[in-house]
């Protein structure tokens, strides 16, 4: 690792001040399970690291009249066991999928949502877009995007919790450096992510000094929800494809649905086609299967990853069935 300065502030405003300093490149240190590896590889080389895990206001999981508020520094392990999060089994499913107790104990929610893409070209120092996407199209793109991949970005968003949280309608609280005091805004989680057009952009919209401090999940209006991951094996590695479903079912019929697929596009990929196809219908094998097919109708796989189209259709189908408490036919 390159040498850097280290700070462990106790307040959000202090952290934002330390992150915003313009004479030095800064990074947020959360659980470290992603960043420390990237720093060892010198893919990310900050001059200052700001550890946000010791900020008490960012650690708590609490309830307000709007919903459940989770501090971005809350550990995944604590989320998995928290009573306020029991209605959100899609989150629990995704955490359990991270098949390493060590990673669950160490990783934080904010770090999970903002982990960098797993693209092996990016991780070997070729840049996020890996020569404008050429390294991927000419090389090995078996784990890369099957949607939104016509531009230079071919990587997939790495977060395993974002699909579940987006389907649940989560928003994020961002603190930014202001003229005098730090400023706060709330945005839908989905708008945190973007598909970069050139190497000057990251895969999220945060600018220097901005810090995600909390995630808010609106109270469930008896939402049936689940995540289904298609995995290559056990261990902490990312699934090949994952899907999260959140369904509001009234008198046996779907009133509202959100379906979000992970590991298939540079951003978590929401399928309104799949969701709309369910509205007004019961959940059964036929409607779930149809939603899965509609979810992948617009897929545009690369030369090495056509198999992911089928996996995505199955993941969507099974996430819907699992949310409805029906057998998925998988495991």
């Amino acid at each position: 690792m390159k040498p850097f300065e280290y700070a462990a502030p106790r307040t959000e405003a202090e952290a934002v001040g330390l992150l915003a300093a313009d004479h030095v490149e800064t990074e947020v240190l959360a659980g470290g399970t992603d960043l420390i590896g990237l720093m060892k590889q010198m893919v990310v080389t900050p001059g200052r690291l700001v550890n946000v895990k010791e900020i008490p206001s960012m650690q708590a999981i609490s309830e307000t009249s709007d919903g459940v508020v989770i501090g971005a520094a809350a550990r995944l392990e604590d989320m998995a066991e928290h009573r306020l999060l029991t209605p959100f089994s899609s989150i629990g499913d995704a955490i359990v999928g991270i098949d390493s107790q060590q990673w669950q104990a160490q990783s934080t929610l904010g770090g999970e949502l903002l982990q960098r893409p797993r693209c092996w070209y990016f991780r070997s120092g070729a840049g996020l877009l890996a020569a404008n996407g050429k390294r991927v199209t000419e090389g090995d793109g078996r784990f890369h995007a099957i949607f939104a991949n016509s531009g230079p970005a071919k990587f997939v968003n790495a977060s395993r919790l974002a699909p579940a949280l987006i389907a649940l309608g989560a928003s994020i609280r961002i603190m930014s450096p202001g003229k005098e005091d730090a400023e706060v805004q709330t945005l839908p989680l989905a708008s945190l992510y973007r598909t970069p057009r050139d190497e000057s952009q990251r895969e999220n919209i945060l600018s220097k000094g901005q810090l995600v401090t909390h995630v808010l999940i609106p109270h469930p209006q008896s939402l049936a929800n689940a995540t289904y991951e298609v995995r290559h094996g056990s261990g902490p590695e990312a699934p090949l494809v994952a899907a999260s479903a959140a369904l509001q079912v009234q008198a046996g019929l779907v009133a509202k649905a959100r379906i979000v697929i992970g590991q298939v596009a540079p951003q978590p990929w929401e399928s309104s086609e799949a969701a709309e196809s369910l509205v007004g219908r019961p959940i059964d094998l036929v409607t779930a299967e149809q939603a899965g097919q509609l979810a992948v109708a617009a897929a545009s796989p690369l030369k090495d990853n056509a198999y992911k189209v089928q996996l995505a259709a199955v993941a969507v189908k099974r996430a819907i069935l699992k949310a409805a408490g029906l057998p998925t036919g998988g495991f």
Partner: protein
């Protein structure tokens, strides 16, 4: 650029202080500064679990923890598992059950199994496999490791009922 910092923490029950740079991981400090070489380095990127230690009771991969993050923390390593010079039940069960070959993964497994049995004294085979999924072993094929943890759990339970 030398910007060393003093870190104080509790290591295996003793107060310890050391000097380190921000870029040094807990694993490096344990092995290279404190000379506790029981904790092993495998992959150095969080995937193998060989470097597992307990950080305030939680199992973490010490290759991805900065030593600076450990100020005032309670760290327990494989060196802190044996009690008064006697092997603990898990260590014994690994020996008795031949649950190791080259041994590089063993300290990580034993520390991880400590965390498991502290949390759940009577784990099922599935629970053991799940809890140990972040620890890789390239030699044993895992069966003997799972059986050793089962045997250790049984011994501990017997000791508690007897005691």
């Amino acid at each position: 650029m030398s910007n060393k910092h003093v870190i104080s923490l509790e290591l295996n029950g003793d107060a310890v202080e050391f000097l380190c740079e921000p870029r040094q991981t807990l694993l490096e400090v344990l092995r290279d500064i404190l000379h506790l070489t029981g904790t092993k380095e495998g992959c150095s990127n969080g995937n193998c679990g060989a470097c597992t230690v307990l950080f305030n009771g939680r199992p973490v991969v010490s290759c991805l923890v900065l030593a600076m993050e450990c100020e005032d923390a309670k760290i327990r390593t494989i060196e802190g598992v044996a009690c008064d010079g006697a092997l603990d039940e898990i260590q014994n069960a690994f020996l008795e059950g031949a649950a190791l070959q080259c041994g590089i993964c063993t300290p990580g497994f034993i520390v991880q199994a400590q965390a498991l049995l502290d949390e759940n004294p009577n784990p099922s085979e599935d629970e053991i496999r799940f809890y140990l999924a972040g620890n890789l072993c390239r030699c044993t094929g895992y069966d003997k490791i799972v059986r050793a943890v089962q045997a250790a759990a049984e011994q501990r339970r017997a000791a508690t009922t007897a005691g």
